[in-house]
């Protein structure tokens, strides 16, 4: 199997549980985003795309995001705003 295919299969198997009701906890300021794509590289869950030269999150990111904050930390243009999801929601690590 190709490395990519293995990664995909395993990712499905290993997806941690998510509790809904997170609210919108990652936002992009399109005035600041230059479309450099560093958030795309760093996101372990591969939740970012470039649309019209700007970074854009997948619509279902709230059900997949691991809340590491990598996108927020790596953005040199401070275009990504991140805060943790509402208390008691979001990712749950059972074997963290």
């Amino acid at each position: 199997m190709e490395l990519k295919a293995i990664a995909k299969a395993k990712m499905k198997e290993g997806m941690p549980e998510h509790i809904s009701g997170t609210g919108d906890f990652i936002k992009v300021d399109h005035d600041k985003c230059v479309g450099c794509g560093r958030c795309i590289v760093i996101c372990v869950m591969n939740l970012w795309r470039i649309r019209d030269m700007k970074a854009s999150l997948d619509e279902d990111y709230q059900e997949k995001c691991l809340e590491c904050g990598g996108c927020y930390q790596i953005c040199e243009f401070n275009a990504i705003k991140f805060h943790y999801p509402a208390g008691g929601t979001g990712v749950v690590y059972k074997q963290g």
Binding site: L3, I6, A7, K10, M11, E13, G14, M15, P16, V41, I42, C43, V44, M45, N46, L66, E67, C68, G69, G70, Y72, Q73, I74, F82, H83, Y84, P85, A86, G87, G88, G90, V91, V92, Y93, K94, Q95, G96
Partner: protein, 460 residues
């Protein structure tokens, strides 16, 4: 809305926050600790190894850690190092237990006690609750309340306000308390790492059967940053990290590269291991903690940048700084002075601890880590060079005298890389660590000269 008032407000319910709340409550301070998860340890906390210093420094607490309350716990005396070349082949390994220079128990008996944080964090938080601290779970603190530019409380996502004489930021790598109090904006990318990690499930009986007394392994690679493998009661973690600026591909690509090493595949087959949960963490990896406090505010643990600058051990530093923060807060509150100047005592106190001693060489330690295990390019020559030294002689391909010459020649070919590396990174570290003793190293060439047999003139 009733505004509730406290002496100490702790934001974040990990081991550091729990320790702060425990000590503060024991000192009779009215203490509340906020945790955004439904319980401590269910969000993305990352460290999974308890070092022996925890058992030495907090014996009363640690003796209560048993498999009943923490089923994942597993300690082992051996750490294994796998060396992997650029073709993803395991070229050799070294397994070691604590050496004879280790001075105390339990450090002689195990390298790390491994725990899932989902077990450990609720356990340690219970000490704070037992001491009388109030624990508020499922609550995200969104901002700080300020008066005259000084932090005087916190506000949660529902708009509820809590006033506190002292606010302790125990809220981890992305610290709202650090950012809102003006102590720091986000970390520069050379001071923070991203760490993707797989949890693998392993049938309980297989771990001891195949791993024996092994507690962890490091996979030193020439195509990926050094990866750690840590064994628990019924599973293991495999993770790797690097500074945020380093990645040219998705971090998971590098992690899965380790998973796909044939030797690793054989291991998971033997163990009957299956991937169970994927994690991703940020981890501050700073050379020195700066801006740790301001008026009415102290940062501890990851929020303050306290993970070990060499190996990023985080739980112990969080507990040490949490304890000190609570003690300093208690004194400041009792003196009626919680100004930044009064809280300078926090720095003085943590600098005296084991954590402080580690950071005296923080810059050199961080630098060697960045340039060796976190630099596959270096590992490309380092791994084969090391293996010539370790394994080259056990070989029947030629007479051993020929082999020795072959090995020496090969090692010589690595010197153009190795010597500048040693001069740039190893020597500064040795100079810092050894201090005046560094001079002793100068006598080594002289000693070797004395030990070498005199060259005989060959007369026929």
């Amino acid at each position: 809305m009733i505004l509730r008032e406290f002496d100490v407000i702790v934001v974040g319910g990990g081991p550091g926050g729990a320790m702060t709340a425990k000590i503060a409550a024991e000192k009779g301070l009215k203490t509340i600790v906020f945790e955004r998860g439904r319980k401590s340890g269910e969000k993305n906390s990352s460290g999974c190894g308890l070092g022996p210093r925890m058992f030495r420094d907090f014996p009363e607490m640690m003796k209560e850690l048993t498999p009943d309350v923490c089923p994942s716990m597993r300690a082992g005396v051996y750490a294994r190092n796998y060396f992997i070349n650029k073709d993803d082949i395991v070229t050799g390994m070294v397994m070691a237990r604590p050496t004879e220079s280790v001075t105390y128990e339990p450090a002689k008996s195990f390298i790390t006690m491994n725990i899932y944080r989902s077990d450990f964090d609720p356990w340690i938080m219970n000490f704070a609750v037992r001491a009388g601290a109030e624990l508020k779970t499922s609550t995200l603190i969104t901002n700080l309340i300020k008066e005259n530019g000084k932090v005087v409380g916190v506000q949660d996502e529902k708009g509820e306000k809590y006033k506190g004489k002292m606010i302790i930021g125990a809220d981890g790598v992305i610290s709202m308390v650090a950012e809102e109090s003006g102590l720091r904006s986000k970390w520069p990318s050379h001071q923070v790492t991203i760490v993707p990690q797989w949890d693998f499930e392993v049938p309980r009986e297989n771990i001891d059967k195949f791993m024996g007394e092994e507690t962890l392994a490091v996979w030193w690679g020439a195509t990926f940053p050094a990866a750690y493998q840590v064994f628990f009661g019924d599973g293991f973690h495999l993770g790797l990290g690097n500074w945020l600026f380093w990645w040219d591909k998705n971090p998971l690509y590098y992690l899965n590269r380790v998973v796909n090493i044939p030797y690793f595949q054989r291991l998971i087959k033997n163990l009957d291991a299956k991937p169970r949960e994927l994690h991703s963490h940020l981890l501050p990896w700073a050379s020195y903690p700066v801006n740790t406090h301001t008026d009415n505010v102290i940062l501890i643990g990851d929020a303050g940048g306290f993970p070990c600058p060499l190996e990023a051990e985080g739980i112990y530093p969080a507990m040490v700084t949490g304890k000190i923060a609570a003690e300093v807060a208690a004194k400041a509150i009792s003196d009626g002075d919680t100004s930044k100047k009064a809280l300078d005592l926090y720095d003085t106190e943590w600098q005296k601890t084991s954590v402080g001693v580690e950071f005296e060489s923080g810059k050199e330690l961080q630098s060697i880590w960045r340039n060796l295990p976190f630099s596959p390019k270096t590992m490309e020559w380092f791994v084969p060079m090391l293996m010539e030294l370790l394994g080259g002689i056990y070989d029947w391909s030629e007479p051993h005298t020929v082999r020795v010459r072959q090995i020496m020649n090969k090692i010589q070919s690595y010197l153009p890389d190795a010597v500048p590396f040693a001069m740039s990174y190893v020597m500064p570290l040795l100079a810092k660590v050894l201090g005046d003793d560094f001079e002793q190293l100068r006598t080594i060439p002289g000693l070797i000269e004395k030990l070498l047999p005199k060259k005989k003139s060959h007369k026929r």
